[in-house]
């Protein structure tokens, strides 16, 4: 999985988002051990302090925990991951609805469009 970062937004926020999405999609599984800060930083091509800041924030959210002697792990709390997934879905849908509104669609029209397009996609 590639890191996709740009320099327009704070890098540590982008790192948090991307690690979250790695957790949601199962690229990192519950209980997985994370590579060291340094290795993660090198992989993403960012400064180790920035990666550290992102991981500290993820720890505060309890998505990641530290075992004093052996490193950092992904949370075992499936409920938390589910919650994160839902949150992310909500965000995507809100963004989408905003764009559709901008195009001039009403909510009922959007829903019927979605149903149509989804059944079309199923056929293909």
């Amino acid at each position: 999985m590639q890191w996709d970062l740009n320099s327009e937004r704070p890098v540590y926020i982008q790192l948090i988002e991307q690690i979250q999405s790695r957790i949601i999609t199962g690229f990192y599984l519950p209980g997985d051990k994370l590579p060291s800060v340094r290795d993660l930083a090198a992989e993403a091509g960012v400064n180790p302090n920035t990666m550290q800041k992102a991981l500290t924030e993820l720890e505060r959210m309890e998505l990641v925990y530290t075992n004093r002697t052996s490193g950092r792990y992904i949370t075992l709390d499936q409920g938390l991951i589910k919650q994160l997934k839902k949150q992310s879905a909500k965000q995507q849908i809100q963004d989408f609805l905003e764009k559709m509104k901008y195009l001039g669609y009403e909510i009922e029209e959007i829903i019927s469009l979605i149903t149509d397009i989804a059944s079309e996609m199923k056929k293909n």
Partner: protein, 236 residues
Amino acid sequence: METNRNAILQCNAVTKRFSGYTALSEVNLTLEKGRIIGLLGPNGSGKSTLLKLVNGLLVPDTGTIQIAGYEPGIESKRIVSYLPERTYLADWMRVIDVLNFFQDFYENFDKHKAYDMLERLHIDPKKRLKTLSKGTKEKVQLILVMSRKADLYCLDEPIGGVDPASRDYILKTIITNYNKNATVLISTHLIADIEMVLDEVIFIKDGQITLHAPVDDIRTKENKSIDTLFREVFKC
């Protein structure tokens, strides 16, 4: 001067004049340990002068400079690894000779690390410097400098002539190789290439520091990249 124990470099009201103009004017600067810092400014803004002062190649007219509490001199040179803007190595030397040269000069030079990096960048240590291309010569110099276990690295335009693929490798080396408490000060024009690895930036203009802040704070405040901000601030 108040000494900050977490500081690796402290410049206090440093002024440097050359006949006819002031290259640096009353510069106050404190760099902390364990940071990667970009020193950015247009041509002739004072970047190289500042690095030369820190490395004792120039002496300030007024003001003081301290590196881990030492004025630039023998003690500071033990812990500062400097890549100057121009090469000082004799071109008849083979890469292997230069490596031995560095090992004789610096206690903290790690030859294995140097060989490792040469191999990764496909540089033959038996070649003479004069037979190498400009970019390869730059890589060799950077390898020498980064293979020292220093507390402060001063890199003056380190990646200018280096191809983008090697640039990536070199930046990766900078983030992975240096020890946690070392500080890296990089002067460059290639902001877009390096801004992702920086902790802080310093903008310097006409010999004065106009901005010194953490990069993510700048992105939050300005909603733009450091590269974009630089182009706006220094628009001609």
